[in-house]
Structure formats: C-alpha cells, structure tokens
Symmetry: C2
C-alpha cells in the first residue's frame, strides 16, 4: 500500500457553495501515483465528478484549483496550479495554469486541491486560513476590477500577505473568454473565469502558515542540484528568458516567419520586431516579478512611458499578448499593447481570446461584412489601437457590440452569420495563440489535437520553435514524423510540467532528463517509487483520460481540425512563405498521431486495449458508447 | 520655559534632496505654543525657510509635511497633515490638508514635521522607518500612477502596512494643479504635487512602531468625553455625514440654489439631485473607509455598476468632485463622475481644479472662442462625459490641448487669449469650489481673502451653509457683518482645525466649544497651559503670518477679488436667484473685514500694531516694505 510522506499535504478541500458546506477529504495515494497532481489530478477529479453533458455555466459544473506535490517545496518554478472545469468556451476540458504566489500559499494552507461545487445564492468569496474556511459576502465586491478586488479583500481580512484569486466584471457577466486573476497572473484560457462567475464566487483568498515537508531532504536536494545545473547550462533560460521575458520569442518567431499578424492574413508581412521585440520592450521594463521560489523570474512589469497611454503599467505584455493585442490587430504601439494587457487583466478577460476575437471583428469590418452601425459606430480597422481598447471594455461589460464578441470568436461568428465563421481563428472554440502553425507542423498538430483546443502549452513543440534536437532533430516544415513527436510532447508536458507542476518554460531545458528529475523529486518528497517510465506512463494516462472526457462530450476526429484559412491560404511572406497545412497534410498527421497513441483512426478515440494498459478500464464503457454513437 | 511633555514628538526631520542629507531637529516648544502644529507650524516653518520671490518649482522652494499634536493620539478625526509650500498655482501659500493613515504613521515614526529641501538629481523616494531615513531610487517608478506606485513601494520595502504619499504622472510633469495622494486621499490643491515633482521626489513611504504619548491621560480622556458628546449630539454628523458622506451637502446646497453648474452659468438651473445627490450615490457605496481613529468615517468607496464605466471604483466622489467633474461640466451620470474621480486620483490631479479648468474649456468651445481643431478634435460641450475623461488624461500627460490646460484655468486662459480670462473661474489662480458664493456671502468673502485663493476649507462659513447660529444667526444673503464673521471663521479654522489638526467637518459640531476643547486637549497632552483665548490668538497669529507671506510676494487688497462673472451675472434660477456680489458689495465686505482684522484698508496688509500684538514683530519690516511698494 502506498502512503504519501511529503510533497503532498494529503488533503483535498471540497466546498459546496449551494449548501455553504465544506469538507476535507484524504487524497488517495494511488491517485497521486497515477496522476501526479496539478492538471493530471484535476482532470481525474473532474472526470469522476461530472456526468456527461453538464452545462459548463450551471451549478453542476465543478471548478478545481490544483497545485501539485512540488508546489511550495524548495523545487524551483513549481508555484503553479491547474484550474480545471468543463469549459464554457469549448465544451471540452478547461485546464488553465496560473502561477505566482497563490499556488504555494494554497499548499501552505494545507491543500493539494480545492474542489468547488454548486452555486452560491448571492456573491461570496472564500477565505481559507490554514485549515479553516469562511464563506464571506462578496456582494459589495461584485462588479469590481481585479486589482481593487484583491486590495479590498486583503484590507477586509486585515492581512496583506493573503493571496487572492478572483474574477473581474467579465467573469461575473459570464463572458466565455473570462479568466481568473491572482496577483497579476492569469489562469487565462477556456473561460474558467465564467465558470467561477456562474457560481457567484468572486474570489478565493488564502493564507497558510504551514510548510510543505519532503520525506528525504537529502535525495531531494541532490536531484535539485541536477535540475539547477541543467537550468544554468541552458543557453536561453538565464541569458534570455530571465533578462527579457517571453518577448525573446517574438524575435525568434518573427525571424522564422511564424509570427502571426492581422487575423492570420499577414504572417511574415507585419512583424515589427523593432517596435514590439525584446529589445524594444525591454526599455519599458521596470521590474521583474518572480513567482514563489523561481530563480528565473521571466515576468516583466512594464510601464507605458509617453503618449496617450503614459502611466499605464502591466505585468507583461507576454509574448502571446504582444501578438493578440498587437500584431494580430495591426497595432505596433507597445504602449497600446501594455494598456490592452492591463485592461484585460483588470476586467478579467483572456488577452489571447479577446485579441483574436477582436481581430476577427476588424477583418469583418474591413471586408464590409459588418457595418459601422453594427459595431456601435467604432472605426474598426487594423491598427486602430483605441478602438481595440474600447472593444475590450465593451466585451467585458457586454455593452452593445461587445456583447456579440464577449463569448469568443466561434460564438461571435455564429451570431454574425454571413460567412463570418471563415474568419474565426479558433480550434474547438479556443482562439489560436501566436505561432503560425503553418510553419511549425508538430506545434500545429498539438493545437489540433489538444484536449483544450488551440493551446500552445499542453505539448509545446520546442523542437520546432527553438531548434532543440530533443528527442531528435526535426524539420519544422515537414509533415512526416509529427504524429509521434506530438504524442511525445503532450505526454512529456502532462507528466513533467502540467502535473507536478513545473513551469512549461523548462521543457526544452530539462529535455529528456525531465522524467528522471520528476521521478527523483517525487520519490524523495513523497516516498513513492516511480521510475522515469512510470512518469512517461502517467503523462500518457492523463492524455488518454482527457481524451475520454472529450469523447464523452461527443468530440472525435472530426473536431481535430483547423480554421479553413490555414488549410487554404499559404503564408504570404517571410521565413515560412508558401507554407500551409493542407487537408491532406492534416489527415496524414492525424493518422500518424492516432497510431502513435493507440487510438482508432476512424473516430480518434482510445482503444480498449490502450485504456486497459493505462489502468483506465473504468472509462472503457463510456468510450465504447461514444464510438458506437459516432459510427451510427 | 515651556517644555513639551507629549502630543508632540518634539522632532522635525529635515531632508535635503540635493545633498542627500537628513537632519533631525528639535521642535522649539515656543513655536508649538504659538502656532500649535499642522498648518500653523507649517506656515511658520515655510516663512522662516524662504526668502521672497522663490520660484515655486525651483529647488529653492521647500515642501513641508506637518501632522499636529493631536495626530496619532486617541483624539478622533486628527489623523491629518498639512502639506505646505509656496504654491506654483497661485504664487501664494499652498496649504493642503490630507488625512487617512499616513499622518498618524508619520507621528508613530517620530516626527512632528518633515521639511523637504532641494532637488534630487534623479527620481527618488524617501523611506522613513521609525527614526531612520533612506533615499531610494524611484527611477523605475517614475511615470507610474498612484495606486501602482503605492503597491510597488510596499512590495519593495516588504511591508504592506507601510503608508505612502506619492505623486502621479501629473506631479512629475509639473502640472500646477497636481496633487499628492496617500492611500486614496489627496493633499489636493494649490499644486503641491508639482512642487514634489519639481524636487524629483516620487513618494514618501513611512512606517513607525512608536506611540504618541500624552502627558495627562486622565485630563485628556475627560476632554475627549466632552468632544465625543458634542459629536454624538450633533444632528448632522452621525445621521448624515457618517451615513452618506459629503454627498449630503449636495442636497443641502442644491436646495439653497448655491450648487454651481456649467462653469457657473447655470447655478440653480442644472442641479440633478436625483442623479448625483446623497440618495442617488448611496446606492453605489460599497464601503466606508475611515481615517485612523475616526468614528465618523465619512469617506465612501463607490463602484460604477453599469454602462461604459462599469467596474470603475473610487473613494468618493466627494461633494466637490460631484460638482467639478459633474454639474460643472454638465455631466449628471454618476458613473462618469466616479470614473473621472478615479482618473484624477490615479494621475494625481486635483479634481476641483481639473474640472473647473475643463469647464472653462467647454464654455470656450461652445462660445466658438476655441475651435475643434485647437482641442485635438475632441467634441467639447457640456455633458460630454467621455470628452471630460479624455481631457483629464491629456492634462496629466501634457498631451496636445491638455498641455494648454495642465496648469489650471488662469494660465490656460492667458495662453488662449481672445478674452478667455473672463471665463476662468478662479481666485488668485485657485479654481472655485462648488458653493456658489453669490448666495453665501461670508463663504464668498472667505474665498476672496483666503491666503490660498478660492479655498472652502480655510474658514468655512458653516453658519451660511448649514444654518448653524454660531456665534450668532446670520442671513446668508446679507453683506453686512460678513467681514467680522469671516475673520471669526478663519481664525477658528486655523486654530482649531488646520493646526491641531482636526477634521474640518467638526467645525459646526464643536462650534464655540472648539477653542476650549483644543486648549484642554493640547494642555493635557503636552503640558502646555493655554487658555481658549490663547487658542483664538494662535488662529489670528497664523492668519496674519500667512497674510505677511503673501504680502512679501506682492499680494494686496487688489488681489482680494472675484471672477467678473460673479460680480456681473446674477444667479439665474432656484433658491438664490438674482444674487450676485457686486463690486460695491465686495468693497464693503473687504473694508469691514480689514477693519476686523486690524489691517489697513488701502493695501489690505496688517498694521504694525497688530503684528506686535501677535508676537510677529519680526515680520514688520517686510510688511512695511510691501506697503511702501504698493503705495508707489
């Protein structure tokens, strides 16, 4: 029998908002061994909690906050948590990771996960202080932006070291692209903020005085030394990410011609590295703001220095926001991007989805599909930064045309009709991140097959983006071999980054050493005895259970697809000119991917053999039911 | 020989920014007895520190932060401080009082006053922790708004209970209507924020672990009981101010027809109590936010609930801002006023001066004196709330037409020319507060003669506004008797409110008991033996020294005047219809006032006899010099 001796607190807090009840449950050590923690554990808990077909914005949905066994220990880059629910944006799985200090504080307060059920009658926030939980009225906070909300709660509980995760107006108004903000970080994507809003839960405030012990400190330190050495030796981590943050990747992807622009019409054409690249933005950085126990500190706080937005500060904009509220909407004014980033954070909107949805609206206006009257008289054209900022506020407030856009590009396009769907840049409803995947095929295949929709973080193809030859050299433009590589990346990410959890920015750094290091740290911390192969297996298990969750909701191979633009219009210019992912390419990559996964190619669902192999036999019936339905 | 046994810390911190030197000096007990503290002490320290003719934005100006002997004790409503300098807006005295927690913290850190001299080579902030003072770089904070600035400094010093007073972009850019913000309070008027900016001083952060002892706790408590009884018995304090804040006065002054609107054209015409009155605003109050040791807690935090500004929160808007960014600019949307209030606080602009200057610009546009091209294409008309908000940002950033307005109405009108001066609603350069003084003559005379310009707080005629018959009943519309009443109010205010200091909102509450209570508390705290008459005398002394300061800078009777509109255009409608202050009325009131003061009527300067009587003989030479110059 497995027992957990450290790393884990061994406790899960279950909160029922409808009944205002809380219960502390033991974490089953077998679950820990099989799903690690974080996203893996969250997905397992969600799968067990939900029947199929639950409305994501109903009280029946469940919202899970899961840090992992590494969170709050001395391990670097591990103050992270997965926020897990059924997604109101995609209908599939919402798994959004946030970082900062809140995740560690949740561990110090004693919990490996918090499961939120039901719906409060009136707005509340939870105040978790060590083992104790209070339901507090949030009626007066309802409507408030996220910085003010955090400040007010800290003042109210009388302790400014309390950490707060909260929603802004967008989450309250059930915008399906709303995020959850803790400190100046976001659990950004897939609409987890709307789920929180639907539960009348404004915030979770947490303070813990506990420590996260590890079972064998000496072994733990020894593995940490290996880890730190890999980090120090990496040519990009400290010299790049630590210095200029994620903006470093703007330079890299622009040079490769995969930096998307103007709703994916102008990749390779509009790439103003001189204005939005790492050197340009670094001038405006006033401070780094590392997560708890992070020696890298990629997060850059930047301040608009002049012009209309002078005085506006944001933690960011990160790589993705430089695209979504910058080049994707034709804006190259860094201060406008800072201002847009701050607005999204304050109102609680996912900056990627917001910017991509706005990009679609701009294109529809330029094409004459939307009239100026329909968009409340705003002059919507690429490059009109103030109109973009006005739209962000209107979306968060569901004000006028903002209401049309407030639920992301897929629903907006459906509401607009007139062929607008062609210009909605999403996969499974989740808006596309910055990388133009026509020029990075494994990265594209990951977007296509990810259980969350177009998600760059659940199997990041660092081999293609940074040229790291791990597990072997790849040609980013080739189609062959990408199915296998995509599986490798996804399992690697699920096991080594999303679940312990560790920061995804270490993926190319740890490389093939990842599973060994994760196994070593987990074993030393918790007294488990997992091999690196067990870690790989856990990753595959998590990916399969996620796929089963989607199958149960009706997803299949037919949903593993791309916006037509990417299959029909090649990249116009730059280092990836002429590239696209044709329908034929897509089919080839999918076939190879399903084969690598042991999933049947017809439906894209796991075979029974695979499920049994992974210890997921309890899901086999649901999968067979889904397969049968698809074949009908 | 007088010694100070409590109440006072007995220490003054002198900081020279040019030389990066600090010195702790003893507070002369005779100064304490003669000028009490706060504004009184600040004026005395400034008078001694400055020669005549110092450029207010040069390193030679001095910026003083002075709480008083009551600050930090158990006395209610005393966590206040006077911020004192030569004003860049008026050229006279800047005395701006702020409250909250910072003033008490400064006492806990050990200081009765902080005197800032010189100019830092590069942006700095001061960190005062108990007796210790650090100069810290503020280069990275330069450009930041005030909420972010406070948060960043608290994070940087690692103590969220630190209190911070800071400037925003407006102060850095030397806007002559810039304020200083601590917490969500302002030392608002007369451009003290620009003085701080001119010194390259972004902020003062303070933390103290000390206590303010009182010499005779039993006597102190006994007088406090009297004070609390007066407060409890007041019909307006707890039932009104405590419940709905200063918005209560919107109802009162609207009913009297002295609530100003549309740059003073539409007093009595545009008074939307239904939208901006106390009941209307109370719906949006989410919390009171009392100052340290204040049982009243007038400050209301309000949240915009819907529409374009939904989600924006401000501490306020106070009475004055409801006028300046509301009716004065033709706006009756409470959420727009909340948004304007927040913008002024974040950028660090005085909301009264900003709104009144904008009101002038709106009138100039409506009259065709300013063209749309000259105002950057903005549609400037009364009631266009978004244009008002856009102008606030432009003023703080000195962006385009905002640069024309950034230094207040007097300078803006001079820059515009074409007769614009007629529409600039200021006295001595300071913009008019809300009360239409055409219908409250003693209140008007106070604006006219105040040493700071049109200032409602340095001698508030509560008799006229609230009908309190203290020291005797008055007819607010009468001219006779107002000279004497104005002197009474000013001496009362200087001695009992601006210097101990106590909140001005207690002026009608303490009434004639004020000097007795102040004397009792001062004596019990400090071991002084002042009579109520000594307190009255201190008030008169402070008023006279302030007048001497102005005389030295060339001010005289000729400057004690009004905008021509108030002398020529009667109030159109409402409870004060037909009222104005004619030139004849003005002269009558001034004659009576100077006589009551013992000042000569020709120049409006103190006589030598009066100065000697008040122990200010050392100023006589300067006054005679000024008088001689005026007579030439």
């Amino acid at each position: 029998m497995v027992t957990l001796k450290g790393g884990y607190t061994g406790k899960i807090l279950r909160v029922n908002l409808t009944r205002k009840e809380t219960r502390v449950e033991e974490l089953d050590p077998n679950l820990a061994a099989a799903f690690i923690g974080g996203a893996g554990l969250g997905i397992k808990l969600l799968y067990d909690a939900l029947p199929a077909g639950v409305d994501p914005l109903s009280p029946e949905n469940v919202l899970i906050f899961a840090p992992g066994p590494m969170t709050g220990t001395d391990a670097p880059c591990a103050s992270r948590m997965a926020v897990v629910a059924r997604s109101p944006l995609t209908g599939g799985l919402a798994v959004a990771l946030s970082a900062g200090h809140f995740p560690a504080e949740l561990k110090f307060a004693g919990f490996d996960a918090v499961i939120i059920e039901g719906k409060a009658e009136k707005p509340v926030y939870l105040y978790i202080k060590d083992g104790e939980v209070q339901f507090r009225s949030a009626e007066r906070l309802w409507g408030m932006m996220t910085t003010d909300t955090q400040l007010f709660i800290k003042e109210e509980v009388g302790d400014h070291n309390t950490r707060v995760a909260c929603i802004g107006p967008a989450g309250e108004k059930l915008c399906r692209i709303a995020c959850i903000i803790n400190e100046r970080r976001a659990a950004g994507r897939k609409g987890v903020g709307a789920v929180m809003g639907s539960k009348n839960l404004k915030a979770i405030a947490v303070r813990g005085s506990g420590k996260v012990k590890v079972d064998d400190p000496q072994s733990f330190s020894s593995v940490l030394r290996d880890m730190h050495k890999l980090m120090r030796d990496d040519p990009a981590l400290y010299p790049g990410l630590s210095k200029v943050g994620t903006s470093a990747a703007v330079d890299v992807t622009s040079a490769m011609g995969i930096w998307s622009a103007k709703n994916w019409m102008d990749t390779g054409v509009f790439s103003p590295v001189d204005k939005l690249g790492s050197q340009a933005l670094d001038q405006f950085t006033i401070r780094r703001n590392p997560c708890y126990r992070c020696p890298v500190g990629c997060s850059q706080v930047r301040l608009a220095r002049s012009g209309r937005y002078a005085g506006v500060l944001s933690e960011g904009p990160e790589f993705e926001t430089i695209y979504s509220l910058g080049t994707n909407v034709g804006v190259d004014d860094p201060f406008a991007v800072i201002a847009g980033d701050r607005l999204c954070d304050e109102y609680g909107l996912d900056s990627i989805s917001a910017g991509v949805t706005i990009g679609m609206a701009l294109e529809l206006c330029e094409r004459g599909i939307l009239s100026r009257e329909e968009v409340d008289g705003l002059e919507l054209r690429f490059g009109n930064a103030q109109a973009v900022l006005d739209l962000i506020v209107k979306m968060a407030n569901r004000d006028g045309f903002g209401d049309v856009l407030a639920d992301g590009s897929r629903l907006a396009a459906q509401r607009i009709g007139r062929g607008a769907e062609r210009y909605a840049m999403h996969i499974k409803g989740l808006e596309l991140p910055a990388y133009d995947i026509r020029g990075a095929k494994a990265h594209g295949l990951n977007y296509i097959t990810s259980y969350t929709g177009a998600d760059h973080n659940r199997g990041y193809a660092f081999q293609e983006i940074f040229g790291v030859p791990v597990p072997e050299p790849v040609d980013r433009l080739a189609v062959e071999g990408k199915g296998k590589l995509c599986k490798w990346n996804q399992d690697f990410s699920a096991a080594c980054f999303d679940s312990p959890p560790f920061c995804n920015f270490l993926n190319s750094v740890l490389g093939p050493e990842g599973p060994r290091i994760v196994a070593g740290l987990l074993n030393a911390a918790s007294g488990l005895s997992l091999s690196p192969e067990d870690i790989w297996k856990a990753g595959e298990r998590i990916m399969n259970l996620a796929r089963v969750f989607l199958a149960r909701e009706g997803f299949s191979r037919a949903d593993d697809t791309l916006p037509p633009r990417l299959m029909e219009e090649p990249i116009k210019s730059g280092g990836s000119a002429g590239q696209l992912i044709s329908r034929e390419d897509l089919d080839k990559m999918l076939d190879e991917y399903y084969e690598a996964r042991g999933w049947d190619k017809e439906t894209g669902l796991p075979t029974k053999e695979k499920l049994v192999e992974l210890g997921l036999e309890y899901t086999a019936e649901a999968v067979e039911k889904a397969r049968t339905a698809l074949r009908k």
